[in-house]
Each structure stands twice: as structure tokens, then as C-alpha cells.
Symmetry: C2
Subunit: 431 residues, 2 copies
């Protein structure tokens, strides 16, 4: 690190000094439950943090009526009452490039808490790990990006370009928080989203210039009821649902066999089609008459959402035409809820190069470059906010949405450093 200019060196030293504060910030964030829909308390905490940092704070509740007709809108909700977005702006001195740091504060449910060895809101630290729902996805990322800015400020370094920290709601259900930031006018010359990019046990984060898109759909399957005693007089919707699930997994194989994207070769299944929910039947002694399958399908950078929708519908329809019952009772495919648009930056984009360079200085190795296998809010920033996006963050994507989600604290600190260096290089600073 001896080759670093003094300012950068000073920031890295500052981050080392602030290590306990970084961990404390994350602990406080994790200890405030914020399952999607219930983000108010944690967002008020973030607004207070931004105020303490001396940022210009913008806190507002996304307006359903304003957003609902936006082409990027996707939400299961019709109001966002009590669910504020919070943006903190550090105004630059001028002449530099602006940067958005974006992260979501909503988390998925911990579900069955009995499966957690550490309580999901405990933020318990065991060795190098802090446990808790949202620790990796993605309060860890938000803590890192917030503290990167905090340390730059505390070190007295003045940036030329603006830094806009977006602490948003509802990423897990469609991205309305980030969309609301776009519609409110927040744009920048680049954006970093600090979603988790560690993919291997004990591994280092990747740098992701591409993000996969994804969307949700349901398949409604009709059977024919009958008393269990004469079950062969009925048509089991659950049996038909199994067949459709198999067809969907075949579609996954089909799509992945066709995918040649170089940033996705590292994944066993680059474009996963996940069957997340299956519900069928109402009574043990009746043949189930209906089944609903709820899925999430990955969309590759370069694919259009519409083309994938058509592909899913066509595939299910063609499969149904092979079944004597389904041909007359075709399953209905319904896209609903979240839609995350895929996006990618060329590898020689200046911001990609700066993130790679910052990473190399902190980790003393080149980062692995990959696309994320999941969708995030990047598509909204790129397609609707005209802001190029890189994804890089300290969390581990293998443990997110799981019981016993955790983050490795050394990655949290290292990511804070990478982000701080990238801010300095991208925004520029007064020497």
C-alpha cells in the first residue's frame, strides 16, 4: 500500500481506526427488524445517521399514484405509507463525477426462527462473523458504503463530485424504493450497488459489472376433484403440477444450454428457474382440484423481459399440448410482483476500471469479474435513471434468505476500503 497517494493512505488508516464504529453501525442496523413492508424504524435510524454525518437528508414516502404507471414499477403494494426512502447527499466542490451508492434496507423474513442458531435480530458476533437477517443482504453493504463516506468526511478530504447515498425500501419485492429515487430526480455519472458478491465459503467478493434480471410468475393448474375413495375419478392438480414443475426445470436447462455470456460461466446454473412456492389442495380426503406454482426466473443481460415472458408462456403451453388433460385445461401463466431488469457495463467502462483498481489495492489481487445471478435494483438505475451500475459488496450471497445468515467482518471492513478508494478516484478530491 506504500504506493498509494497520501490522501488514499489517510483514508485507509481512518477506516482501520473506525473499524469498531463500522461494526457498531451494522449491529445497530441488523438489530432493527425491517422485513420488507416494515422498514420505517431502520430508515429513521439511517436518516439520523446521515444527519450526524452532515449530509443533506431527503426522507420521503414513495407515492403509489405517482409511480404506478411508470414502466419500471413492480410492486405487490398500493401504498408505501410508513415506509420512507432516505437519501443522504454529500455535495462535492464541483468539477468531479457524481456517484450513487445504493442499498436496500428491507430484508426477507427470517421465517422459522427455530432454525436460527443465533436469533435473527441479534447481530451476534462469533469470531469473524456477525449473524442476523439482512447482515449480508444487504445491511452490510449499506454499512460499508455509509462508513466509506463517513471516513472520507471525518478525514477532512473534500470530494469534487457529489456522492448520493440511497437507503431504499422494497428491493426484495420489486424495487419501488430505487424507482422512487429515480423519479425524484436522483441520477449520477455512475452507481455502486453494494449487494453481496461473495459466492464461496470464506471467499472474497467479486466485482460485478453485469447483473442478471429476474421476475416472478405463477402457474395456475386445474385438476378435477373427487372423493379420495374414488380418486381415479378425479384429476390430481398436484400430479399435474409436478409435471409442470418438471417442464419448468427442463426450460431452465434449455435456457442455460443456450447461454454463452462470459460473466456467467462460473455458475452451475447461470439462469436459475426457482420453484419457490407450491400450494395445492384443501382436504386430505379430496383429490386436489387446483394448484398454484410460484416461480422466479433469471433473465440474462441482453435478454428482454418480454421475450422471456413469451418463452415461458410458450413452453408451458407446448408442454400442456402433450397432456390429454392439460390440453383441454391449459395451465395459466401469470407474471406478477417483482421484475428486475438485467443490465451490464462494458469491462472497459471507466467506473468498472476504477472499482477493479480500488479492489486490487485493498485485496492485493485482481477481483474475479462476474455477473450476478440475481436481479437487483441496478436495472432501474440503468434503464430509467440513465446511470451505469457496478455491483460489489461484502455480503455472501450463499447465505442470504437462509436461516443463520451472516457476514464476515473482515470483508465488511475491506469493502469499506474499496468503496472509499473508488469514491476518491471517481469523484475526485482536493489534494
Amino acid at each position: 500500500m506504500t504506493e498509494l497517494p497520501d490522501v488514499k493512505q489517510k483514508i485507509l488508516v481512518k477506516i482501520n481506526e473506525e473499524k469498531e464504529n463500522i461494526i457498531d453501525l451494522l449491529r445497530n442496523m441488523v438489530q432493527i427488524p425491517s422485513v420488507v413492508g416494515d422498514e420505517k424504524a431502520v430508515q429513521e435510524f439511517m436518516a439520523k445517521k446521515f444527519e450526524e454525518m452532515g449530509l443533506t437528508v431527503d426522507k420521503w414516502v414513495p407515492d403509489y399514484d405517482e409511480l404506478k404507471t411508470h414502466p419500471g414499477f413492480a410492486s405487490p403494494n398500493t401504498t408505501f405509507e410508513n415506509r420512507p426512502n432516505v437519501v443522504g447527499v454529500l455535495k462535492g466542490t464541483g468539477g468531479g463525477r457524481s456517484l450513487i451508492l445504493n442499498g436496500h434496507m428491507d430484508v426477507v423474513s427470517p421465517y422459522d426462527e427455530s432454525l436460527w442458531e443465533q436469533a435473527p435480530w441479534s447481530a451476534a458476533i462469533v469470531g469473524n462473523r456477525m449473524y442476523g437477517r439482512g447482515s449480508s443482504d444487504m445491511k452490510g453493504g449499506v454499512a460499508a458504503m455509509t462508513m466509506a463516506v463517513d471516513c472520507i468526511k471525518k478525514a477532512g478530504v473534500q470530494l469534487k463530485g457529489d456522492v448520493i447515498i440511497e437507503s431504499v425500501i422494497e428491493e426484495e419485492a420489486g424495487g419501488v424504493g430505487t424507482l422512487a429515487c429515480v423519479v425524484r430526480g436522483y441520477k449520477a455519472d455512475a452507481a455502486l450497488i453494494t449487494e453481496p458478491t461473495v459466492v464461496e465459503e470464506g471467499g472474497v467478493p467479486m466485482v460485478c459489472p453485469a447483473q442478471g434480471g429476474s421476475m416472478w410468475f405463477k402457474v395456475h393448474v386445474q385438476g378435477k376433484s373427487a372423493h379420495a375413495g374414488l380418486r381415479y375419478e378425479g384429476i390430481s392438480a398436484v400430479e399435474k403440477a409436478f409435471k409442470i414443475c418438471n417442464a419448468l426445470w427442463d426450460l431452465e436447462k434449455f435456457r442455460n444450454a443456450k447461454l454463452k455470456h462470459p460473466l456467467y460461466q462460473r455458475y452451475e446454473i447461470p439462469l436459475p428457474l426457482n420453484i419457490g412456492i407450491l400450494n395445492s389442495g384443501v382436504w386430505p380426503s379430496s383429490v386436489p382440484e387446483e394448484a398454484t406454482i410460484q416461480c422466479r426466473i433469471g433473465v440474462a443481460p441482453g435478454e428482454s423481459i418480454e421475450s422471456v415472458r413469451t418463452q415461458v408462456k410458450d413452453y408451458v403451453q407446448k408442454f400442456a399440448e402433450l397432456d390429454s388433460w392439460l390440453v383441454d385445461h391449459p395451465p395459466k401463466v401469470e407474471f406478477f410482483g417483482g421484475t428486475w431488469i438485467p443490465t451490464e457495463l462494458p469491462l472497459d467502462h471507466p467506473f468498472v476500471k476504477i472499482v477493479i483498481n480500488s479492489y486490487s489495492k485493498v485485496f492485493n489481487q485482481e477481483p474475479e469479474l462476474a455477473g450476478t445471478p440475481w436481479g437487483a435494483d441496478g436495472g432501474l438505475l440503468v434503464h430509467h435513471g440513465d446511470t451505469p451500475v457496478v455491483i460489489f459488496g461484502p455480503g455472501d450471497m450463499r447465505v442470504i434468505h437462509f436461516p443463520n445468515e451472516y457476514i464476515e467482518l473482515d470483508k465488511l471492513i475491506a469493502a469499506t476500503k474499496v468503496i472509499a478508494l473508488a469514491i476518491l478516484d471517481w469523484c475526485g478530491y482536493i489534494t
Copy 2:
């Protein structure tokens, strides 16, 4: 019919005269919704009917504390408040055999009412059919047995043996209503349960000296959650559940291949194993961590409940031992809720012969003899009430638990006649 003695001829004429009243009674019964748990209104209607007929009426609420330790007890409930049983007794003059006529007034839910062409509580008549939830299962049977007694009384015929009409609750969830009758002391020299025994479109009812048993069980399946984007890091509980469902259907084949019972040869699947409910997963973007399968398995006359329980558990366990994940995360089999004990009478039992004989006189043909493929309350009467049981009724078992359940009205009237003749022959009468 010219060979019939005058008294029997008189009763058949009376039933013909009462045809509209029989249909009216059933219409009134169907128009009172009585989904299992909500039987109060229809039971009060029955009590009133029995009073008008001049029967001794016994109306009481089954007592959970009294019944819960009984070996025949199976119920998802811990109170039966507002859910009375009703028994009407017609005391004989003495010297005859006593007879229980048993039927349940609870019905399964109509579920999605939009699938009904006639509203489920309309009792709408279209041609020879009356539509409605419970019309076949089994208010039609209860109407027939009630009106058989009513017509005998109205015709002024005096029976020697007692007739006990049991209008019970909760057959659909385990038979606590009939159990409560047994515990209250109601026994007889024979019983007729008027559950539906038509099994073919436009067919005539069968006479069933045997009834299949059945019971419910759940299989709890454990997977391993993961974010959809890395779904291959998880283990899909729904995928494992499919495998277990296939194993359960194999178990069904295994059991049926071994079954040689002559009264069950007519069924495509004499001992059905129905997968009635499958629920798995909580979020489209997570690999489902748990699945629950709810099933109903048929038990053959001659099989013990305990041996079938052991067979199911062993089969699932052996299957799990073949799967690299399930071997370490074995599915849990849990028997719950309803248990219907199988039972059968020898074909030369006097009551079987009387029902066959009565049937032949009304239908001018020998009845088909079969075992029912479903469980009913007969097992409780036989095993705990020491009362031999035959099942015969006017409903169509193909349409029960379906939308658009109906009963054929000519079968309703014919069944009333069969029951009336059987009462006369079994109980004896003053000539």
C-alpha cells in the same frame, strides 16, 4: 310387487304418495348449510322433524372430556359446542330386532363456489337431479331413512323392534358424532348407514356389507433454503416432496396388488392413497425449505389400522434411505385427524340378506354387492358399539366432495322404499 304382503304394499304406496314430502325434506336439509363444525341449524331442524314424527328425541352436545380418551376418538377439535347430535327413537311393541339408521349431517365445504353451476345451498332441481353440497353425502340418505320411518308411522304400521335414527355431526372429520351415540348407549341388533353407494353415472346403488377404513397422515419434508439466484446451493423441499409423492403412489400400487378381497375387485383402485394437500415454500425467490404432504390412505377390511401405519412409516423410511439428502434428513410421517376403522359383515348375515331382499323387490334386480372404498362411521358402530353394519344409500359417491354435487331423485325415492321394507323385515311388525 303383487307378491308383497299387504302391509309392505301399503308402505310402498304411502312412499309414492309422500314423494313430494321426501323431496321437500331433502330440499330443506340441503338449504341449511352445515359444513363440518357448523351443524347446529340443520340439527335443530332434524330435532324438530323427529318431534313432528312423534319420535322420542335426544339432542345433546358431545362432550370432549368424556370422549377424548376413548380408543375410537379422532377429531381435530377439543370442543363440540353448538354442534348437537340428534337421535330420534321409535319404540317398538317388543319382540322384534332393533335397528339403528345412521347418517351424518355435516358436509365438506363447497370450496370455490364459482365452480358450481347451481349454488351449493340452492337445492335446485333440474330434471331428475337435486343439486347441492350434501345432497349425495349424505343428506339424501338421511332424508330417505327418516322418511322410511315417517311413512311407516303415517301408514299406521306398528313395529316390534326399536328404530333409532341417528343424525350425527363430524363424520367428515373423524366420526365423533357417531362415537358419542355409542358412548351414550345406543346399540342395536343391526345398523344401516345410508352413505352414498351409487358408483356409476345413472347407476343404481350397491349394497355394501363391507366398508373400507381410512386415515389421514402428513409427511413433513425438509429441504435447505437458498436464494433463487444460487438455487443449486439449496435443496428444494418441493422436489423432494415430489419424490415422496411418487413413492406414496408406488406404495398404493404395492398395497392394491396384494389385495384379494372379493368385494373390492370392482374398483380401479380399491385402496386409494390420496395426496390431498401439498404446501411448500414461502417466497418465489427462495428455495423452499419445507414441504408438507397431507394424505388419506384406504384400509381394507381385515387390515389393522396399526399395521397400515407401520407399513406407511416403513415404506417412507426405506425410500428415504435411497436418497442422499433424505437419508440424513428423513421425512417425518405423522398420523392425525380422522381414522375410520374398516369393517365387514359375512354375506349370509341375516341383516345383509334382508337388505338384499328388500332391494330386489324395489329395483326388480339383485343388488351389486361391494365394499365401500371409503371409510364411514360403520367401524365405530361395529368395533365400539357392537352393532353389525350394512351401508346402502341413494347418493352418488362419484359426485361427493365435488362442485355440482347432486342426487338423483328417483334413487332417493327407491332407497326410501328399500329402507322401509328392510325395517319391516328386520324389526318385525304387527299384522
